[in-house]
């Protein structure tokens, strides 16, 4: 379903604007065109960063850094791949850097102390498909914690490939191109990611 949604967002973006025309306008210095380009893609960029990093602060940083890089380097874009691939290559590289840094430092707690008491950073996210039933909600919370753990066990590259395939609906060939690797290597990453998650979530799914 999410794959369909991602595809639909992308299709809408393409239908809404003649992308090549907009990009050429941006390259000529048309600021309105740049804003149009940002708005066509920024929701899916933010969604990708949030699902990869599971942190609103990090997702916000990635959003800003990615579009600043686009802003600074759009005149180097030569249409030898789609803008979507070019943009996602930028976003995934930044996310991979975040994930690698995170592996080095201690995993941050989702709970932060504020003047108003402890706050769960994940509350900034809207979780899809929440349920009103208290038992169901408790089960969902448990499953959610396990999913967070399962995703945390993946290597940055496995996590990225999984995110791009499962949530963003991208083909493994495109993912390989974005990450500067082969389709086969992306396929191996997806397999390892799926296996690891099935081990961690085995009794819940």
């Amino acid at each position: 379903m999410l794959q369909d949604a991602a595809g639909a967002v992308s299709a809408r973006a393409v239908a809404r604007v003649d992308e090549a025309t907009v990009i050429r306008a941006v390259q000529r210095g048309d600021q309105d065109a740049f804003e149009q380009l940002v708005r066509a893609y920024d929701q899916s960029v933010l969604r990708l960063a949030m699902n990869l990093l599971r942190s609103p602060e990090d997702a916000r940083d990635v959003y800003q850094e990615a579009f600043l890089r686009v802003y600074r380097n759009i005149h180097t874009f030569r249409f030898d791949c789609s803008f979507h691939t070019w943009l996602y290559r930028i976003v995934t590289n930044i996310c991979l850097d975040h994930l690698r840094k995170r592996k080095v430092r201690r995993e941050e707690s989702a709970i932060v102390e504020t003047a108003d008491g402890p706050v769960d950073r994940m509350d900034s996210f809207e979780q899809e498909g929440t349920h009103a039933n208290p038992e169901r909600r408790m089960w969902n919370t448990q499953l959610g914690d396990r999913i967070e753990n399962a995703l945390g066990d993946l290597t940055p590259r496995e996590r990225t490939v999984f995110e791009l395939r499962h949530y963003q609906g991208l083909r493994l060939r495109t993912i390989g191109e974005m990450l500067g690797t082969s389709e086969e290597a992306a396929k191996n990453c997806l397999f390892r990611a799926t296996q690891k998650m099935r081990v961690v979530l085995g009794d819940l799914v």
Binding site: E35, Q64, F191, V205
Partner: protein, 311 residues
């Protein structure tokens, strides 16, 4: 297809990443084999659970991100823009236009003063300057302390705003030798990247002049602003076969910190292949941390039938 092969293929089957004939074989097997059917159901359950726990950005977070981006771009360019717009995208537009739009008036006070003798204007002023050029009153021994703006128009002329003892505007055609000399001086204007970008933009189609080409090579090697370096690279495109240009491009490829500049340098180098290019690309692969650039190098080396590594 046996159970082991089917179980290993299930994730790819789920994501539609197996060939159509293998897809048929997996479907038939799952239909007939209860343990593999259980594996298939588990795969679907896992995907469904993950879908339910996907995170979606709240509209507030998205709005904050857009606001932050507009602010960040504005901050990045703030020394050269006028602070008048109140909404973030208005600020962004000002910042953006300051970088790109021809003729924007930069208001940054110029710190270091590069004094440029403009004695050459005297000769132009005394008789042969084009009619309508605003050089009236220009003192022959005037000294220019800095160049504030460079503004081309559609008729092929350029208006250059410069400071002497007071600011003065001079106009002339782009093919005028003195205007070109002034533009070359402007391309070295240390404290104003906007002036440098605009000047290099105007000079980049005149690389057939050795002096202009020298300025472009200097800009691509030493200018601190990647936008200026990229413009200079554009100007060198037609001279990518020239030995001096190629030597500079190789240096840029190995030293420039900006990935966009390195990518452009690769494009120019591989347009005219030689043994030195192979060596440069092989060296670059060994030290490059940008995946895309490494991939471009690998592809270029393969196209040149050269090995990716050095031995």
């Amino acid at each position: 297809m046996n159970c082991d092969a089917v179980v290993k293929s299930i994730p790819f089957y789920f994501y539609g990443e197996v060939a159509p004939d293998a897809e048929d074989a997996i479907e038939e097997h799952i239909e007939a084999c209860a343990p593999c059917r259980v594996e298939w159901e588990r795969q679907k359950a896992l995907a469904s659970a993950l879908d339910r726990h996907a995170l979606a950005p709240s509209p507030e977070l998205l709005a904050e991100c857009r606001h932050d981006l507009a602010r960040a771009i504005y901050r990045e360019e703030s020394p050269v823009v006028r602070r008048s717009a109140s909404d973030p995208w208005g600020l962004f537009r000002e910042a953006f236009s300051s970088l790109w739009r021809p003729g924007i008036r930069f208001r940054q006070p110029v710190g270091a003063v590069a004094l440029i003798a403009l004695g050459f204007f005297a000769a132009r002023f005394t008789g042969t300057w084009p009619a309508g050029a605003s050089l009236a009153g220009f003192t022959p021994d005037a000294m220019v302390s800095s160049i504030r703006s460079v503004q081309p128009d559609n008729a092929g002329s350029v208006q250059i705003s410069l400071d002497e003892t007071r600011r003065r505007v001079v106009s002339g055609r782009l093919d005028d030798h003195n205007i070109q000399r002034l533009l070359m001086a402007a391309a070295r204007e240390q404290d104003n990247p906007g002036v440098r970008v605009e000047s290099v933009e105007l000079l980049k189609d005149r690389g057939s002049s050795a002096a202009v080409r020298g300025v472009l090579l200097e800009a691509v090697t030493h200018d601190p602003n990647p936008g200026v370096r990229l413009k200079a690279l554009e100007g060198l495109k037609s001279f990518a076969a020239d030995a001096e240009v190629r030597k500079t491009l190789a240096q840029v490829l190995l030293k420039d910190q900006n990935a966009g500049v390195r990518i452009q340098a690769i494009d120019l180098l591989i347009a005219n292949r030689d043994a030195a290019t192979v060596s440069t690309l092989q060296t670059l692969i060994g030290k490059e941390d940008n995946n895309y650039i490494r991939m471009r190098c690998q592809n270029a080396l393969r196209n040149m039938n050269a090995s990716v590594g050095t031995f």
